[in-house]
Amino acid sequence: MSLSSSDHAHSTPDTAATPAGLGRRSFLGYVMAGSTLVVAADLNLARPARAAIPSGVQIPELYDLEDLQTDSALPTSQLITVTINRDGTASFALPRAEVGQGILTSTTMILAEELDLPMSKVKVTLAKARPELLLNQLTGGSNSTFSTYTPIRVAGALARQRLLEAAAILFGTTADRLTTTGGVISDGLGNNATYGDLASDAASQVVEAVEVLLRPPSDFKVIGKPKDRLDARDAVTGKKKFTTDLDVPGALPTMVCRAPEHQGTPKRLKNRARILKMDGVTHVAIVPTGVAVRARTFGQCIDAIRAMDVEWNPGTASGESDSTILAKLRGQEIPLVVPNVPILAETVETNVAFAFRSSAALEPYAAIADVRDDKATIWAGLKVPILAQQRVAEAVGLRQDQVEVNVITSGGSFGHKLFGDHAIEAATISKAMGKPVKLMWHRADEPRQGRLHPMATTRVRATVLNGQVLSFEQRHTSVTTDFSHGLGEMITSQADELDPLGLGGLGFAESIFTLTQELPYNFGVLTQLLNEPLEFEDQFSTGSMRNIYSPDVCTSAELTIDQIAKKVGKDPLEFRLEFLKNERVKTALRKVAKEGNWGRKMPKGTAQGIAIHKEYKGCTAVLVEIDCRPQTVNRDLGKETVTGPRVTKVVIAVDAGLVINPRGLEAQMQGGAMDGIAMTLTSSCHLRDGKFLEASWDNYFYTRQWNVPKDMEIHIIKSDSDTPGGAGEAAVGSTAAAVACAYVRATGEIPKYFPINHGQISFKPKSFIPPVPPSPTNGLKLTR
């Protein structure tokens, strides 16, 4: 493992004007009224200077006009606050979700930097649902650090400034003669005071708006230095609490018996009395998504589900299979129209399909709900808690303000926890049973009924003449992606440089596609278009999966680029460097080529592959080596183990703009690479006759240790950008693409379907009735 240059300090001129009329490091913050020092900053500081309400049809679902009028009257409605406590610590509730990406650690670093306080004295927690924040409480699109970086710094800097002013009065001097070190203010003459000592003196009785200067990046002592995760010790000692680990009084284990078909619904439970008599069972209730059972243990819920005799309604994809959906997608592809190019131009085409994939995390959907007549309380991992709050209120017939939503650290998300499916279902069950419930989905429920990355096709046609690319057209056709969580609005609202009207004529998903896809090559007439036919709307439970469209679009584009290079007789690296128009991307590409020894001689059946991706104000380049030799592909590691080609080496260069925590960024690159490998080689869901066949990790082949490259290098490029870019999704698309390109170079075959093993079903599907497999009993024979 190597971690190259990670010095990102670049000072910016203070004088550059901003719309607010202040310098680029100078911002307005607020000192709030209180008995201890509470400072605040506007969460919209990171956004372009335009209305806080982005355009988009679904906003009223989140927040209606009446709410808006009420809350707009409050000058502090969009504020985040940092409190200096009398014990010298600072506390802050971050309106985002921690799902493993490390934002609690990076946020603590940012605050520690501006406060000049040790990280151990900065306490960052996850905020409950705050409806007044609108879309500013959404974790997605690799956007958290970008959107919160400046407001958090403003609050931190203002707190330090107020504490210095309070100390100056106490010491009878001026603030500029004082220094802060580790939470202690000194005048150099023997007078010292801690932040805790000064917290009351620095407090204000009224709300004051104050101008504050941020620390120049050249002074950074914490930001940009590698830090370990703050929750690491809790994670390795078993103390870290996830939703199902919480002890909420009366919230007994609860699971749901679900339909065999995707999104099927229950008609009736024929043996209710027998189920209620089963050991441990306390309640049974029919809810829209299935038959819920509450018991003393989850194991007894599983036994009850297996014993249920349920009559089911068909699902939403009854009779459909991969092949019928693919045929419908093919029928809806927007035609490729070769622009007017000289008659001698040659054509390069690729045409690939991408299977359904499950975005489920290792922690299955889980939520605790306690619904009473006049109040509901929810505990769950939620990336858009405001939406969950609103949908829960609707589901149980309460007002939104009667629903308290606690955001719990999640065991992974990958897009899955953008939706509040689990919270809404738990609340519905709690209301039906009149009891608190701790709902957990069975693993089998996840690929069969949970959120899926939609199946899609991508066609590319490029024309080439005299070594130049005259046109590059890409048509992506996808089963509808569900954007009802608000991420779409967030993305469209951030397109500050685009006139919203410029997107006129495009549908919502198509606008998002346009705003997120960028192919940074000089390829003449370049078009990338999406079509999500209306006929698939609501047919599948879908969503993003560690990125929205990019991994599929990037893979097919980069595969095509390799084919164009071949056609014009150029090396893939040389060709890309010639046609790339962005210097940051070229720098990353040169870095992986050098570090990965691009072009080295490889044995037959093995090859290198190289690819780039640019998104989220940053870019990645990836070089991989793949081994497709029979002795590797056919490794036998026991039953239901998909081995297949092995990626033996991954080298990533990332320019993620200003990096808060290089060690966390490196982790995101490593994890993203594993997702990219899974997407290209192994992980998919098979639809057969309205049912998804996969039911556990021995069917859904996310990467395992036998798929892990023995060699993995992450290089962080010193960036010219002084703002943080996205990290969580950045490596997925470029790794997926590089692996696909390497596979083609090793085997000479261009796959028609991804992942490449989707064509064969290498497992025996588990039963659909009952919908969950039996719990094994042979564990003591398998000790190791």
């Binding site: 078993g238 990790w697 240790q705 094994p776 009993t777 042979n778 398998l782």
Partner: protein, 159 residues
């Protein structure tokens, strides 16, 4: 209801529950020992990996009635006590390599790693790449590379 007795993290425990409830639920739902996680319930994902009499096992696949009173169960919560320290060398290696992302699978990963090192030592050898390749524990965040580095470090310090 039958009384189930076994030794958990060094202390005898007794629970009133039927024989066929799997040990995972006895630990998590009845005893409040939540380090072992549920990820599949069918001994595939290995998130619940714990130790029985010093060897790795998966409590999701064992009936509590099959435990004997003298069986010694160790979960992640009791791992450090087996070496009489604040942290087991494998946990320390996990911290040094900053392995965890979401952290959900990590208790099971660490318990599996410790048992693997002990197993190869019983065979009179050290960990090989091929041993690491056969670890079945899923990490959906994809921290596998750091897991391998941590196991190698942890093994060096398990003497």
């Amino acid at each position: 209801m039958p009384k189930q007795t076994f030794i958990l993290n060094g202390k005898p425990v007794t629970v009133n529950v039927n024989d066929d409830v799997r040990v995972l639920w006895v630990l998590r739902d009845l005893l409040g020992v939540t380090g072992p996680k549920y990820g599949c319930g069918i001994n595939v994902c290995k998130a619940c990996t714990s130790h029985i009499n010093g060897k790795a096992f998966n409590p999701c696949a064992v009936r509590v009635g099959d435990l004997k009173p003298q069986d010694r169960l160790t979960t992640i919560e009791g791992l450090n006590e087996t070496v009489g320290k604040d942290l087991h060398p494998m946990q320390k290696a996990w911290l040094d390599q900053d392995v965890s992302q979401c952290g959900y699978c990590q208790p099971g990963q660490i318990m599996a790693a410790v048992a693997l090192v002990k197993k190869v030592r019983r065979e009179g050898r050290e960990i090989r790449d091929s041993d690491l390749d056969q670890i079945r524990n899923i990490c959906r965040c994809g921290t596998y590379f750091r897991i391998r580095e941590a196991i190698e470090q942890g093994a060096r310090n398990m003497r």
